[in-house]
Symmetry: C2
Subunit: 122 residues, 2 copies
DNA sequence: ACCATAGATCAACTAATCTTGATGGGTCCG
DNA sequence: CGGACCCATCAAGATTAGTTGATCTATGGT
């Protein structure tokens, strides 16, 4: 069953997270497959952060963090908002749920040959 | 809520999939973050396959496939069974659900600072 | 206008991952 | 036993990803 996410103000109607293509899912998986980017995602799970907060919180060089933020943004996992000289990053609400749903679809589809295939190859 | 998977014969009591540590989740993500390994997982979602079937189905050199099978096995995503000269690989039933649950835990925890933080950094 | 700060981007380097072809160990069959 | 087949592993090279330090733009404060 597809996932609903809280819906943007002011209507509060839950948004349906759109299905990820295999290519999109691959991008997201690649983006998550790094310990630093995972820490960034965890930090952003606690709410919006600006880059200078993240460099402090994660103890990373600015350039290094910027590189990883770009990977996450290109994968659609995070979004950014500029305020004054600060750049605030946030988790894109549908992204992780989208991956979750994609995973569900990966596991479930047609168990055509579920048990052991007793006969050898040829 | 944690995931149940179909339980191994003959008792049929559903198995509870154990929580993945962050380190384990990272391994699984890294294993999935590759187009070839994703195709292997999709193929195995259709049931057990031996290596020679997979090389044919995915049109890969044996050595290349073997490399990726090892990555998937080390991540706990797939398991193997030898029968005669054939090696049969299957999806490890708990692995993908385990990652799914880990993802759920990643999204949900404490939205301490959910909205925009209106005040600039300093 | 000037300077300080936030952050993106770039080029050069290092490190990790993938690929390829070769080799070797099992297993089965004649 | 000898040969054919299935598969894992290894070493060398190719490819890709990540790091570092420097530079550049934009914003805001004085």
């Amino acid at each position: 069953m597809p996932t609903l996410v809280p819906g943007h103000a002011p209507d509060l109607v839950p948004d349906l997270v759109p299905d990820l293509s295999d290519g999109q899912a691959l991008m997201v998986l690649r983006a998550l497959a790094d310990p630093i980017r995972l820490r960034v995602v965890e930090a952003l799970a606690g709410g919006e952060r600006c880059v200078c907060e993240l460099t402090a919180e994660l103890d990373l060089a600015q350039s290094r963090l910027s590189f990883h933020l770009r990977v996450l943004r290109q994968a659609g996992l995070i979004g950014a908002r500029q305020q004054g000289r600060w750049m605030y990053y946030r988790l894109e609400p549908g992204a992780l749920p989208g991956l979750r749903d994609w995973l569900d679809r990966l596991v479930s589809p047609r168990p055509l040959r579920s048990g052991p295939a007793p006969l050898p190859c040829r």
